[in-house]
């Protein structure tokens, strides 16, 4: 390095500029590695109810994996193949577990008033993910290509048409429902789940409610 270059080089690296550096700084500030992947947790996290969050996430992975296997040979495969039928059963039961775990997790968080301490958005992303999961499961039932699909389609069309949605979101249009089921809605739920988990990691697990009421606004976000 020349003398001139040495003179121009900063003795300490200046804060990098640009969008990338700004995003990196923000990400590290909000979620430093020890917060993102902690190896300790608050002492009050000592109940079985806490297990249902991670169980929901685990079931979500099984749902995605079994759905991916079903996607390999297309939506008709499982009707003609024993292996396909097994993976459809795996998909069905993992969805049942996913929804059951999520409902228990949700009730647990409700009774913890888990939106306290600037955690309202964590609650909202979880709640919308729950509603999105209902939509994803609904379109899955429509994409089964059997009597259930036919009946659910002709029944639900009346509700969708009643509020003016049916012309654009047609439960009887198999291709449209399949696309919503395997692309659009899982993407929405997946993004919400990621955001939800990042927010949990950022804010930490909500502390216990005080036993003696200290303020009338303890349950506010």
């Amino acid at each position: 390095m020349s003398t001139r270059e040495q003179a121009e080089a900063p003795s300490e690296p200046a804060e990098a500029s640009g969008w990338t550096a700004a995003v990196r700084r923000r990400a590290v500030r909000e979620l430093p590695p020890e917060k993102l992947l902690p190896d300790t947790q608050p002492k009050y996290v000592a109940s079985w109810i806490y297990v249902f969050g991670v169980l929901t996430l685990a079931a979500f992975f099984v749902v995605l994996g079994s759905g991916a296997v079903l996607a390999i040979q297309g939506p008709s495969w499982w009707h003609a193949s024993g292996t396909g039928h097994f993976f459809n059963s795996l998909h069905l039961w993992s969805v049942e577990l996913f929804m059951a775990f999520m409902v228990i997790h949700l009730w647990g968080k409700f009774f913890m008033a888990a939106w306290r301490g600037r955690r309202a958005l964590t609650w909202i992303t979880g709640a919308v993910a729950f509603l999105g999961s209902i939509g994803t499961a609904f379109t899955g039932y429509l994409a089964q290509q059997n009597l259930d699909s036919q009946w659910i389609a002709v029944q639900s069309k009346d509700a969708l048409n009643a509020v003016g949605i049916g012309g654009y979101f047609d439960a009887m249009n198999f291709g449209q429902m399949l696309m919503w089921h395997i692309v659009l809605l899982p993407a929405v739920v997946g993004i919400l789940v990621v955001l939800h988990i990042l927010m949990v990691r950022r804010h930490g697990v909500v502390p216990p409610l005080p036993l003696k009421s200290e303020t009338t606004q303890e349950e506010q976000p």
Binding site: H79, L92, A153, A162
Partner: protein, 310 residues
């Protein structure tokens, strides 16, 4: 006006901490859930009752098929009288004063006489179709009305219909029934748009839904609206149990007898969903956890340690 100060929330780690392996916990959970899902799938499998086809319907219940085809032809079927998004025969449901369906309008136009009867017959029965379409609307109504009455008297059996002036209608419906039983109507209803690749089953499903055969099968499998409807599935499976609240409204008044029942249920569920999503901001609702102290059970160890430390 001064803002109320935000309640300060303590740092979670100020309560003390203990070792925790996040990745290990997730891995164990994943293996456990996968094993449980495999066990449930292996033991209980999943339902797969074959779909009804137009052909299987026409073979199993030709009388219902013929009556439905006649209703499509004379414009008295459920689809013909539906309103938006299929036609303007009615206004559609209202939510209060707002007719949402009517506001959106006809986005999937369906002409039941043409789409379900005349067009599928056109290639094979051009003489019958032209005789019918060249007649005046009054003449068409006279033929279909007379044949509808005659079918009722014959308990729906075309073979037992007494002779009368029905024009080409009996021959048209007979030909359509033959096409349906042979299986060609299934394909015709899908390819009416002229496209080769198809994934939209709106036409055949509406035709099936206008008949009573599909509903009778659904009732046999506890799927109809008064049996908690589409949250169930065929066989003894949990189905979409999470739709219980949505389906619940259809079981009670005024939802179960209102002409606007579907719109009312959607309106109710929209309000409840908003309350659910925004519960952190709704005074009273957000304080329920304080009044139903499940939290004392969840954090009992923390409270015990806190009280012993005081």
């Amino acid at each position: 006006m001064s803002r109320k100060p935000r309640t300060t929330e303590p740092d979670p780690y100020s309560f003390g901490s203990r070792p925790y392996d996040l990745v290990k916990e997730f891995t164990v959970a994943l293996v456990a859930v996968l094993a449980l899902s495999i066990a449930l799938a292996a033991v209980f499998s999943s339902p797969d009752k074959p779909p009804v086809t137009i052909a299987s319907w026409a073979k199993a219940d030709g009388a219902d098929f013929t009556a439905t085809a006649l209703a499509e032809l004379d414009g008295s079927s459920g689809t013909a009288q539906y309103g938006p998004p299929y036609n303007n025969a009615s206004q559609g449901q209202k939510l209060g004063p707002v007719a949402l369906a009517n506001l959106v309008g006809v986005t999937k136009p369906i002409d039941t006489a043409n789409d379900f009867v005349l067009r599928p017959l056109a290639a094979a029965q051009p003489t019958l179709v032209s005789q019918y379409t060249n007649a005046s609307a009054t003449q068409q109504n006279t033929w279909t009305g007379a044949y509808s009455d005659a079918l009722d008297k014959a308990n729906g059996d075309p073979a037992k219909v007494t002779t009368g002036d029905y024009g080409p209608v009996p021959a048209m419906l007979g030909a359509l029934l033959s096409q349906a039983q042979a299986g060609s109507l299934d394909g015709q209803l899908l390819t009416e748009s002229g496209a080769f690749y198809q994934s939209d089953y709106t036409l055949p499903l509406l035709f099936l839904a206008d008949g009573s055969y599909l509903e009778s099968l659904a009732g046999h499998d506890h799927l109809t609206g008064d049996q908690w409807g589409m949250m169930n599935e065929t066989g003894n499976y949990p189905g979409q149990a999470w739709l219980w609240l949505y389906t619940f409204w259809y079981q009670i008044s005024p939802y179960n007898h209102s002409d606007n029942g579907d719109a009312l249920v959607w309106g109710t569920m929209a309000v409840l969903s908003l309350l659910f999503v925004f519960v952190p901001f709704i005074p009273g609702l957000r304080s329920i956890p304080r009044y139903i102290p499940v939290y004392r059970l969840i954090w009992r160890e923390h409270y015990r340690e806190s009280s012993s430390g005081e």
